[in-house]
């Protein structure tokens, strides 16, 4: 317990609602203590509004205890106090702070802290003795969600499990009632002897149950179900209040590393009543590496500093608790490089808040290699490195960024990225005309820096023949309107709507109505045979656009997510209306999802992770930065090159990867660069470049680099690319590309004949270097290092490499040609360079 307090000395850290304060020296003593159930007084609540009223024997209330030292931040002490109730016959409090009524009347609940501080609240208990009819929807269905019975992995999936079906996460309680009470000839529930109901005997593990023991017979939930069955399984009346929303308390806190926080969750009903549902809610952190939750609603964070959000779910409502876990090191101005733009300002502000000093700015060689890979998908050439390192131009880094953006390499690399998620997939050889055309169009759009909103409009609203209008090719792979809308949402709005097709989205607010409103935009897409055999031409079919919601059987007009339905005249392509909505300046998703995607491209981790799963319950780690980037992008007319410039010219992007004494644990605050592996195409080109050879791709001109490949059609013929994860273009998710290491990859780099052939090629680097008799060995080794790492070798490396060549020569048998031995030595040096982490990682 002491450790928790000492850890909680947060220097320079802020209470989220108050301005930055100087370091607070104390913290081990508690100077203020509050007992509350909603907002704590230092966070906007007041003791006056904390009236506790428990109605009925089933009512429960999660108590929260918050303490603070002088000028210290509020912290959770719910588990550190002793509770007492006066009179003790009225109610009791369990060790987790749950208030349980025992009899009607009034009482006082007191929380006493070992430091001597205490706080009290009055509580009124009513209707203890009068049993209420248990409402199925409000009382019983949430139990199935809490215990996991109606999850998508079990009874909640379509088809259910072992003949017993429940609606996913309780979204359809009427169906659940049917399945429970009426199906299976009423075997599941047994009013005459409720404990013998199949539902309970299986759930408690008394009878063999594939899902194991889910319910404890000595629990409130079990007893409630038993009473409900005994009451004759009432459903409840149509007039009974239902949950309108839930609130989570506290909403956000600063937690120390290894710290914890008890949450309280309140359900607000349609009749105005409020009830505590803390034990009935489901809790899930959005980063399992940072925190865990338990069934009682207690959040425990691990050692990693940063932001973590806990999604809270009750019935079909969601809420979120946000925790900031500071590292707590002081970050003075001298610890930060001078901010170059608003990206730096926002990132550095976060670093101050978290208390995490950044690594220094990286050196020129590192910057040159890093940015060339990230923008142009290639390594800098030896000469480029020499020139850059020697240049004394003060803004040479910014100039290099401009140079890369103006080069066709940028268009190649980003066309490769976009073509993958636009599903530019070749399934049969005749597809090549279309896939090549689509790729070419994407590349051209990037080369000419077409504004992103126009780019998306041209894809989403594409009509005609692929031959004349290449973006029609997007419709080759997304044939049905649900594929179209799901991809459009995922790619351009950062949202995964898939789940909402069949039921309310489990983690977000989108309903089936929203899904089909979105689908309606694609309801007039017509297909007919195009000019090329096997290819469709897309056209707009006249008619009022509408999609049918299968639940309500009603037609739904097109509606952007979260907006009112629009009336689109029959002769206007509704996809144009969709493009209008998506690209409008106040669309909350369009710009945010793109800037987040590009942030991830450069930093390896989005501000929202995963990048296509942006929702209220998965908040960004730096909301101010995301908003600022989106605003900048929108105001700048969706200029992609400008976005790249903004990112790459920031100091944040140019921080070194090597951690300082504090920030090795950083995974989401960008206090240093997070190294990432080169993708398959970039790596192949890099290997070829260093070895001085080229790969050949059937049908393409010699010298075509792997990043230039227009589609997946070359995958099958190139083991290197597939084993290093070049995707097939079968998914709208960039995660189809697996950047994970695998044994097969290591095997290949270490021992493939293909690689050995490259190294030993008569036209390759090893051969060329050795045949150059003029150049000294040092120069040759330096050339290799500049090509591989954009830097010169240090004294040790030079000695190791030179020594290797000399050793081989010295050991050579008399009958062997010295040059042949030297050449092999150079092959080995290049082999070693290729197999270093410095080579295969962007760092």
């Amino acid at each position: 317990m002491r450790n928790r307090f000492t850890c909680a000395i947060i220097l320079g850290c802020v209470a989220l609602l108050t301005p930055v304060r100087p370091a607070s020296a104390g913290g081990t003593d508690v100077k203020s203590l509050w007992l509350h159930v909603t907002a704590a007084p230092p966070e906007g609540g007041s003791t006056a509004t904390q009236a506790l009223r428990l109605r009925g024997a089933d009512a429960r209330q999660q108590l929260l205890v918050t303490g603070a030292s002088d000028a210290g931040t509020p912290r959770d002490l719910t588990r550190d106090v002793t509770f007492s109730v006066e009179p003790a016959t009225a109610a009791k409090v369990d060790p987790t702070g749950l208030l349980i009524p025992l009899a009607d009347g009034t009482a006082t609940v007191t929380a006493r802290h070992p430091s001597g501080m205490s706080a009290s609240l009055p509580v009124t208990i009513e209707r203890f003795g009068s049993p209420q009819a248990i409402n199925f929807v409000n009382r019983i269905v949430p139990i199935f969600t809490k215990t996991g019975c109606n999850g998508g992995g079990c009874h909640g999936k379509s088809g259910g499990q072992n003949g017993f079906r429940l609606s996913l996460l309780g979204f359809e309680p009427q169906e659940d009632y049917e399945h429970l009470v009426k199906e299976a000839r009423g075997r599941r529930l047994f009013p005459a002897a409720p404990e013998n109901s199949l539902l309970l005997t299986k759930a408690t593990g008394q009878l063999p149950h594939g899902g194991g023991k889910r319910l404890d017979p000595d629990s409130d939930d079990y007893r409630l179900i038993v009473r409900w069955v005994r009451q004759g399984m009432p459903y409840g009346s149509a007039n009974d209040p239902t949950v309108a929303k839930i609130e989570v308390w506290p909403k956000e806190r600063i937690l120390s590393r290894g710290g914890q926080q008890q949450l309280a969750v309140h359900a607000h009903y349609t009749d105005g009543t409020v009830e505590d549902v803390t034990r009935g809610a489901v809790y899930e952190p959005n980063d399992k590496n940072m925190a865990e939750t338990d069934e009682a609603g207690r959040v425990k964070v691990y050692d990693q500093p940063g932001d973590v959000a806990v999604m809270v779910r009750y019935q079909s409502k969601v809420g979120v608790f946000r925790a900031l876990v500071p590292l707590g090191v002081e970050v003075a101005d001298k610890d930060l490089p001078p901010a170059k733009n608003f990206v730096d300002e926002k990132v550095f502000a976060k670093l101050r808040k978290v208390g995490m000093p950044p690594s220094p700015v990286c050196d020129d060689a590192t910057f040159l290699r890093r940015v060339t890979i990230d923008i142009a998908g290639r390594l800098p050439m030896a000469d480029e490195a020499r020139l850059f390192l020697a240049s004394t131009t003060p803004d040479k880094r910014a100039k290099w960024v401009d140079h890369l953006l103006d080069s066709p390499d940028y268009a190649d690399y980003f066309a490769n990225k976009w073509a993958g998620v636009l599903r530019n997939k070749r399934s049969k050889s005749t597809d090549a005309k279309s896939t090549f055309a689509f790729h070419g169009w994407v590349r051209e759009s990037l080369l000419t820096n077409k504004p992103y909103d126009q780019f998306v409009r041209e894809i989403v609203a594409a009509s005609g023949d692929v031959a004349e209008n290449p973006p029609v090719a997007w419709y080759r792979e997304v044939k049905k309107d649900d594929d179209q809308l799901e991809d459009a949402a995922q790619l351009f709005l950062g949202m995964r709507l898939q789940c909402a097709q069949c039921h309310h989205h489990p983690f977000e607010k989108w309903s089936q109505q929203d899904y089909y409103g979105f689908a309606a935009f694609f309801s007039r897409v017509g297909r007919k045979p195009g000019t090329r055999p096997g290819e469709d031409a897309i056209f707009h079919r006249r008619g009022a656009p509408a999609a049918t919601n299968p639940k309500t059987k009603q037609a739904v007009k097109p509606a952007g997510l979260g907006t009112a339905p629009v009336d689109v005249p029959a002769d206007v392509d509704p996809r144009l209306a969709l493009a209008d909505w998506m690209t409008s300046k106040d669309n909350p998703f369009f710009a945010r999802s793109l800037v987040n995607r590009y942030w991830k491209h450069f930093f390896g981790r989005g501000l929202v992770e995963p990048e296509d799963d942006m929702r209220e319950t998965n908040p960004p780690t730096n909301p101010e930065l995301l908003d600022a980037l989106a605003a900048h992008f929108t105001k700048g007319n969706y200029d992609l090159k400008d976005l790249v410039r903004t990112i790459c010219n920031s100091q944040t992007y140019q921080l070194a990867a090597l951690p300082n004494a504090h920030n090795a644990v950083d995974r989401q605050n960008f206090s240093r660069y997070y190294p990432k592996r080169l993708s398959a195409e970039v790596l192949l080109d890099a290997v070829n470049g260093l070895a001085g050879v080229q790969s050949s791709f059937a049908g393409l001109p010699p010298g075509t680099r792997a990043v230039e490949l227009p589609d997946n059609g070359f995958n099958a013929g190139n083991y290197f690319l597939t084993v290093f994860g070049k995707p097939e273009g079968a998914s709208a998710c960039e995660c189809e590309r697996t950047n994970d290491a695998s044994l097969a990859q290591s095997l290949h780099l270490i021992n493939a004949k293909d690689i050995q052939d490259k190294l030993a090629s008569n036209e390759g680097s090893a051969a060329k270097l050795v045949s150059d008799a003029q150049r000294p060995e040092e120069g040759k080794i330096e050339e290799l290092y500049l090509s591989a790492f954009s830097r010169k070798p240090d004294a040790e490396e030079m000695a190791a490499a030179k020594g290797y060549v000399e050793k081989k020569l010295a050991a050579k048998p008399a009958d062997k040609d010295a040059n042949a031995v030297k050449r092999q030595a150079y092959e080995d040096i290049i082999w070693a360079l290729i197999n270093t982490k410095e080579f295969s990682f962007n760092h």
């Binding site: 998508g152 644990v665 097939e728 493939a752 040096i829």
Partner: protein, 468 residues
């Protein structure tokens, strides 16, 4: 020697250990770090809906009877059918009352309580073209052209486990008989990843997969040693820069890759001299001669034992092929009776040895054995030649182990074994049974990055209900 830098184990529930320098020998402590790292990564990849493991601790051995085994002479003899239809090898009583197998399956008959025999499996194709038929069965007649094994590799994320051992292997024997060589070729060609990509191809100890080629040292050993020593000196990028463990993982993989090249865990698993000779003896089928024109000692026993060893060492899916089951009864092919004795007996022997072996080792639940063929044979035997031709109506299908409900017959066939007489079991049910054994399909459904195509196929594959 390996130098591994381990980071804060912050996914170790808060037990933060400071950076440790570990000097490990080959395959030492580093191996312990990896599964945790990858487990945490996998958890992170699963997203909010995940968190439960996708992979169950189960392996599958897919024993394929290539050529079209007769549904009658194997496990559905129908001795009450007319003489020209009933089993030409007679029948044998099994330990399940009322159930008989074909006459050449004496040993399995005694172990019938460990088998689930499906008599209503209808693949639905009886192509004259074997290549096409075998491909259809392996690849479920799906345009993705990915074999069942490749699908399991894709769903688990890799054809290799995180510790470097192959997760997907194919033990198709090199044949000498010209007939059998055709079967061999077809099985190899069908056990392919198709559109899933070469990364999900099986590891084939015999035969030229790319992985095999990469495993075969192609420079002198001394040169590889020299190279690695040089690499040690030049590979100086501090592992501290990477907090995800990816670099440490690569170091580990390098070590394991070299081990594989120099003959490590995989070679050990494949080398039967590491096995108890009595066990090898029990499996051995070399006294049976395999081949139609050119004969050689049968190797099914040894291969089934190898498959068990691979599964024990961590493989998830192993294909074992057995050629020669095409019993047309003409100059190129044996008749039904001859064929099912010649091949049935070694099959009987090997599988019986396998069942006893996995039970005594406690592996019975962990390993699912699937025995099937590409189609069955005609109900009526040709009088000339004593053969049966291709028949799409029914096909043998047997399951053992894997924690499934065995000791039963599932489904019935019509009186002459022409068609299912109960709800037909289809190829997608076979896939479903395998997938549900290996994976928590509920978690697979919410995985990211898997193509819609594959998810639809996997999600739509319903397991045979009687088995679970």
């Amino acid at each position: 020697m390996l130098r591994i830098l381990s980071q804060h184990a912050h996914w170790d529930c808060g037990k933060a250990s400071r950076r440790d320098f570990l000097r490990v020998g080959a395959l030492g402590l580093g191996g312990l770090v990896l599964p945790q790292l990858f487990a945490a990564k996998a958890q992170a990849l699963n997203g909010p809906a995940g968190g439960k493991p996708v992979l169950k601790d189960r392996s599958v051995i897919f024993l394929f009877l290539c050529g079209g085994a007769s549904q009658i002479e194997t496990f559905d003899p129908h001795m009450d059918a007319p003489p020209e239809c009933r089993s030409q090898t007679g029948e044998v009583k099994t330990c399940i009352p009322g159930v008989t197998f074909g006459g050449s399956f004496q040993k399995l008959a005694r172990l019938a309580d460990r088998l689930a025999v499906v008599r209503s499996y209808q693949p639905g194709h009886g192509d004259a073209d074997h290549a096409r038929a075998i491909k259809k069965t392996f690849q479920l007649d799906h345009p993705m052209e990915a074999s069942i094994g490749s699908i399991t590799a894709r769903l688990r994320g890799s054809a290799f486990r995180s510790d470097g051992f192959p997760a997907y292997a194919s033990l198709v024997e090199k044949e000498v008989d010209s007939q059998y060589q055709e079967d061999e070729e077809r099985m190899r060609k069908s056990d392919m990843p198709g559109r899933l990509g070469a990364g999900f191809a099986p590891f084939t100890p015999t035969g030229g997969g790319q992985i095999n080629k990469d495993m075969t040292l192609n420079v002198p050993l001394e040169r590889l040693d020299d190279r690695r020593a040089l690499l040690q000196e030049l590979d100086k990028l501090s592992r501290q820069v990477d907090s995800t463990g990816a670099m440490a993982a690569l170091d580990e993989y390098e070590q394991r890759a070299v081990d594989m090249i120099l003959g490590g865990t995989v070679r050990k698993a494949l080398d039967l001299s590491n096995e108890d000779p009595r066990v090898v003896e029990r499996y051995d089928t070399s006294r049976f001669l395999s081949g139609h024109l050119t004969k050689r000692p049968d190797t099914l026993g040894r291969r089934l034992l190898t498959a068990r060893r691979l599964c024990e060492a961590g493989a998830g899916f192993v294909t074992v092929g057995m050629a020669g089951w095409d019993t047309h009864g003409n100059d190129k092919h044996p008749g039904v009776k001859e064929g099912h004795i010649k091949l049935g007996e070694p099959l009987d022997h090997a599988v019986a040895a396998f069942l006893e072996d996995v039970r005594s080792r406690g592996l019975e639940e962990r390993i699912l054995l699937v025995i099937t063929s590409e189609f069955g044979r005609t109900p009526k035997v040709e009088p000339k030649g004593g053969g049966r031709d291709h028949w799409p109506g029914l096909c043998p299908l047997v399951f053992a182990g894997g924690g499934l409900n065995v000791g039963q017959v599932i489904g019935r066939s019509t009186s002459k074994a022409e068609e299912p007489a109960s709800e037909p079991v289809r190829m997608s049910n076979l896939l479903g049974t395998i997938l549900h054994t290996m994976f928590d399909m509920g978690e697979v459904r919410v995985q990211r990055g898997i193509s819609r195509e594959l998810l639809t196929l996997a999600d739509g594959a319903k397991p045979i209900p009687e088995l679970f």
